[in-house]
Symmetry: C2
Subunit: 443 residues, 2 copies
């Protein structure tokens, strides 16, 4: 598998390096544990889907400062020669507990905990926050779309509007993980072996003297893979033109896969277009729809009984438009054999090394989670954080994206419908164990 | 200058390749002109700042399909061997007109026009939209912050929450272009030679037995570069601790640069902290503030007379939280010697190859823009689109980021204050020339 570009150790905030230099100067190398979690301030999400761990593990296993990065750091004039030499030999030697990708989790639950010499644990903060935060956010948004679409196929169309190149590639992975059927993104198709999908733009139609001519030309090239875009001039006329060309295709033994609507009143148009195809005996021709879809618009058109078989979902999911960031943080919780807690106003952190235990009913459906102390036992609670790295070494190979996708799909079926509401935030019960509560009081 | 990762030709939607294959099969190679512009639907922005052109030109000058990309395309089973061979030798051979980075522009104005054989012009669509769209969006958001901060320094703190890696790097460039003073992003500092800034996190304070001990340790390491974070336990107590350490620093001949507030009521705390330092005779110690700042929060705390000298601006600018995408499109406007126009409901495009002319008053202040036909003359109107590429060759070297930043700063001073309101969208006058209107009617 070819990866997208590697971030490298300079993908960090300067203060991570200045703090590291100060720890180094004072010979502070004790192990520290940092906990990664999403705060619940102003959240509009009832659940999250863990994603991004593969990139984190890939980055950490190869973590080192190349010579040109050290040369750049020298030019800043901030760092001693001794510290630069120390960085030159630095590798990531820590332990990591993490929820596997595709795990459903909730606000305030640690999704990842790192224990490493404090300099190492600090230097990776920015990268870990960025990577898990963004991919978790988009995967969670995509899961909401999958739920709203109620078994209809979704295709990621976001590449042209994602926030940069890396985002485009990660959105394709995240949406596929959440259950999308395909992506328009060819590079992501190559990197992650995701099915790709796509047909034609308005410009293709305009490049021909007439719409039927454009349809015919396209179906000549792709007799088995044709979806006509029918709204360039008029959707209803477009549907009629598509019927004519579909019949001509049939005479040659080919089937039109579908047509795509890209503007106008989607529920109304889809019903009219469905009728046009049904009346022509083309009941297998599918109707695809695109243009501003997200979970809200999908739910709206389906509530209006739209006759849409598949949705192209783009911009609004690719940037998580209604919630374009999550308040994800990476906080020191354990240092020098003591639990640590920050108490700045409105910013409480749960001290100590932790585990999240999930209780389920006899059918496997999720009942409640208990955040506990790492090593305690919670009866009937399955631990969600797995040890994935020890002394900087991976403890398992990365699961395939298909396996992660299957895991999420199963997990999602075990989450009660009420937590999947796209309109209301419904709090899933997350409790603290007595041992964890006692630990907080003891500080 | 080291660049971030290159996208490559597979950074595209599949339909660009299927359309290309169909054009190739039908021997359609005529030049097409596509126009890039931002639609004004639901916009909350009065102006935009052009950005991203450097990346577009870099990508296009190196545009080609590496062998492994062609091999991947073969595996899709969609493309003929002949077409794959055609792609193997394809380079970008087109012309491009574009507004230089740092140019202020408005909705519906073409910011870039490409003329190339239709296959080439189509294949670059996704990359061009993504690149210009994202960087323009963030630069425009950053310019609003610069305006709200009214000459106070701004520092980009967004890296941990940007939408992926590429976004993090581009946000640092975009915010610097718009007038930010520095970034916390070390990688962007290296790539773009942007000043970097940063000091300490809460975890650094917590790693020591007490706050004064942490402050002293840090100032030992960086006697000339110290800004204390003072809200870990209590901002007022933190300020008092900072005063003590600052006095100890003074005795050794060093000056504390400043302190940073990161939570609580910023206006109120900043006044109290200012008084604590002033009363101690430390009038040169600066107050930095971070935590959720964007143009709205900056304006709010300054309206409350906050005593803040510099703002760390992060997440909300890094993802353009109030407007996380722009409706940027790339539309066919000219093909086979005729102007082309799409008329889908609510999606009107101005046909023809165009130029944007800007009229200014005697002081250089912007009065109005006229969108005209590419080759017409508009009296007193300065053309904004420059020819930057001909037959696939760059016509000029890329300006330095510093030059672009200076250009924007000058341009921004020529835009009337009323268009800079962060709360209201105020329409700058953008007219169509008679020649362009006549062209639209003729289609």
């Amino acid at each position: 598998m070819t990866k997208a570009c590697r971030a490298g150790p300079l993908f960090t905030d300067l203060y991570e390096l200045t703090m590291a230099a100060s720890y180094y100067a004072h010979r502070i190398f004790s192990p520290a544990t940092f906990s990664l979690f999403i705060r619940d301030n102003h959240l509009t999400r009832s659940f999250f889907v863990a994603a991004g761990l593969e990139d984190v593990l890939d980055e950490l296993t190869g973590f080192h400062f190349p010579g040109q990065d050290l040369e750049y750091l020298e030019t800043t004039g901030l760092f001693s020669e001794e510290f630069i030499s120390y960085l030159a030999q630095l590798r990531f030697s820590g332990d990591m507990y993490a929820m596997p990708e595709g795990t459903i989790f909730f606000a305030n639950e640690p999704v990842l905990e790192v224990t490493a010499p404090i300099i190492e644990a600090q230097l990776i903060e920015t990268f870990v926050l960025n990577t898990i935060g963004f991919q978790t956010m988009v995967t969670s948004k995509a899961a909401r779309c999958v739920h709203a679409a109620d078994d209809r196929q979704l295709i990621d169309f976001s590449l042209r509007r994602t926030q940069g190149q890396d985002a485009g590639i990660k959105v394709a992975r995240s949406t596929y993980l959440a259950g999308f059927a395909a992506t328009s993104n060819v590079l992501a198709g190559k990197i992650y072996d995701i099915p790709t999908s796509g047909t034609m733009a308005h410009s293709y139609i305009e490049a021909f003297d007439s719409e039927p001519e454009a349809f015919s030309a396209y179906s000549d090239t792709f007799p088995q893979h044709t979806i006509f875009l029918i709204d360039t001039y008029d959707t209803i006329e477009g549907a009629k033109n598509a019927v004519k060309v579909a019949k001509a295709m049939k005479e040659k033994g080919n089937e039109l896969i579908g047509v795509r609507l890209d503007s106008g009143d989607m529920a109304d148009l889809s019903k009219k277009v469905r009728k046009i195809f049904d009346d022509a005996g083309l009941i297998d021709v599918k109707i695809f729809a695109s243009s501003g879809f997200d979970e809200f618009k999908i739910a709206k058109v389906l509530s209006e009984d739209a006759k849409i078989d598949a949705f192209g979902v783009g911009t609004k999911v690719g940037v998580s438009a209604d919630a374009p960031y999550v308040d994800i943080v990476y906080k020191l919780v354990h240092f020098k054999n003591r639990a640590v807690r920050k108490v700045s106003p409105g910013k409480i952190t749960l001290a100590g090394e932790k585990q999240v235990f999930r209780k389920s009913n006899l059918n496997g459906c999720y009942l409640e989670d208990v955040i506990g102390v790492r090593d305690e036992k919670v009866s009937d609670g399955a631990p969600l954080l797995e040890k994935v790295m020890e002394n900087g070494k991976l403890l398992r190979s990365n699961p395939s994206l298909q396996d992660i996708r299957d895991r999420f799909s199963k997990n999602f079926s075990l989450l009660d419908e009420k937590y999947k509401s796209i309109h209301d935030k419904v709090d899933y019960p997350v409790k603290l164990s007595k041992m964890l509560k006692d630990l907080q009081k003891s500080i």
